[in-house]
Symmetry: C2
Subunit: 434 residues, 2 copies
Amino acid sequence: MGVRAGIIVTGTEVLTGRVSDRNGPWLAEQLRQLGVDVGQIVVVGDRPDDLLAALAFLGHGNDLVITSGGLGPTADDLTAAIVAQAQGRPVRFDADLEQRIAAIVERLSARLGGTRSAEATASGTRKQAMVPEGATVLEPAGTAPGLVVAVAEGRIGPPVIVLPGPPWELQQMWPAAVAAPDVAALLAGVPELRQHTLRLWGLPESELAATLRRVEPDLTGLEITTCLAAGELEVVTRYAPDAQDALQRLTDAVRTDFPTQLFSDDGSTVDEQIAAALIARGWHLAVAESATGGALSARLSGRDGSGAYLSGGLAVTTDDALTSIAAVPWDTIAAAGPVSPAVAHAMADGARTRFGADVGIGVSGIDAGSGARPGTRTTSVHLCVITPDGQRARSFTTSAAPATLRQLVAPAALHLLRQLLSPLPAAGSSTGRT
Amino acid sequence: MGVRAGIIVTGTEVLTGRVSDRNGPWLAEQLRQLGVDVGQIVVVGDRPDDLLAALAFLGHGNDLVITSGGLGPTADDLTAAIVAQAQGRPVRFDADLEQRIAAIVERLSARLGGTRSAEATASGTRKQAMVPEGATVLEPAGTAPGLVVAVAEGRIGPPVIVLPGPPWELQQMWPAAVAAPDVAALLAGVPELRQHTLRLWGLPESELAATLRRVEPDLTGLEITTCLAAGELEVVTRYAPDAQDALQRLTDAVRTDFPTQLFSDDGSTVDEQIAAALIARGWHLAVAESATGGALSARLSGRDGSGAYLSGGLAVTTDDALTSIAAVPWDTIAAAGPVSPAVAHAMADGARTRFGADVGIGVSGIDAGSGARPGTRTTSVHLCVITPDGQRARSFTTSAAPATLRQLVAPAALHLLRQLLSPLPAAGSSTGRT
């Protein structure tokens, strides 16, 4: 049937958690779009034996293996040499490639005000120009070239795509990797693998599980996974085009059982729904937040094109700033306390006034900055959304750590705004595709 | 020699990149503190064969295997059953455990305003109460119990710790997992494994590599990894206590070659250094940002205790908001343009004025919200920091995508502030430990 791939992420910094891997997930999604099913992602440190063992492990049962990382100039970067060994190919020095890398390093070093001569970095460059015999070289996006390395003749195993670790370099190089002859031949004629997402808000996973069990016999051909993240429940289905009817039955069952909790059946996120609703009304949004210290504003402004509906944000934690910056009346703070529904309302109102916006969100609560420790106390969070059409408020308490609190509060605020902006999904809307 | 562990993260949502894994890195760091070396992290989807293959792979060469995820009530949660199979143990129903889980689910469902009867979720609860014979049950932190499962008698292989996927639940359960008899016996007498971090700013990795190659013969007993992330270069060394002298030689060599770029040799981050310097001076900091839309403010306020030195932040993208909120004079915008060094200066000044703060940071640039697409244009970013003692500015251009831009700009602003606040590291300071 389909083509299956395994991914290896190298780097002790990833294995030990100092850097969180972005390449594995990115590659998995690219491969899915090409119809390739990803079986495993393996993270290993910069140790030859561990990388060799991972290559052997993924070489069984996969049609393609992709590595990221370990192509730099330092001694702990050893992926190219190990992949060559695993594929049974000797390594050769590529003088032309060395010249190209040296030119890149020189430009980079000059820009950063480098203090070293070209000779000092030459052995690193020479190392990066050592290429497995017969491999396809992928031109550097940073300083490191990538590779596509097929197994040596007479051996059996999948080709290995060798990519650099920095996400930007890896992503730049990906089209060339896919176009390399060994990879292109593998991908030719691979059937489509579709993915569809339902999103629900305010539902325990156990209730969804009961629904899925009930309709399971009708869902042949669907690979369904559910996932609870920051209060949202995602139901992601992967399927071949001929299972489209089964997908419709799944969607209908979820809509019937959870009509108010299902907020997305076309792949759209709450962020996208809010953006569309604000643009449709020609409204601008402003935020004033204490409990989230700018995180809600950063999430909203991080979307491409948010300038069309987002006016800005105020991160205010002190009582002084609440009044002087967010226009919360002293009387309100005195009467209700700085963390209160009344202050959340005044913040939403203040954000509208200060920015001249149509819609305001106020988030009142204790921020991480207060030094409150997780577990030592219960924190109250008060949310308020005001639009020209009305307002909506919600309060809740949590004993979550400050960092977790932010991950809970931002979606809660966005869903409050969504509920105020948009009608519930219509029962007859069709099942889209992400 | 030491104890070595492998980690398995299960879940199609992680494998496909919809959720980024936080458990692998967290577990790796916990294990390091216990002196346990982590060899691999393997991510697999919710497929029995893949999980079995991963257990077999990690069962070789490791003394301990830890899984996270796949303990929920839905059908795709199958870790407990598969681990039982891999360890050669039959699964038994634990009636007492079922009662405890049912009580938790009932409370949770009531809190979320659940619409289903207890019977509807009962089969999920029964599934979660199926336990491998002879396993140690770790009490649920959410609804899912964890397990420690040794291999069946007569077989060979490491014990497997089975933990739930939600990071909070996993972390709550970890102490009980470490205390379980099979694990405690393994960890008894494991020698210490130390870790030390050097951090540099404004240096190409290739120059650092040249230094490391030169002093390599003097560094026996050190496992050194270097990593470039958002402009910072990290040198992390893992070592046994008897290699302390070699670590000192490494630190001295890096300090000698890069005296201005080395900003941390005691594990401290730029965020921590800024916090300490501001607290020592009794200064408060305020931010006005356009290019980063609240992300710099969110990063600063996310630190525990930041309330002691952070006044707040203004996320302003429109010309109107620049003047009305951040107090940037119209004349400045008209003369220099809204994205300019002069506006960055006025924003830093405006943030100080508006919040009554001692220190201001201004970040002027095009935000993601403008709809500018990556690659289509070069973006200019202008940074300015003003303190009672002086000011410092920096401008740069980048063609990075908006999300990447934020990851570059925030550290650049923080290092600008650091350079203004703190003297360079003294040449004689001792080597600390993280």
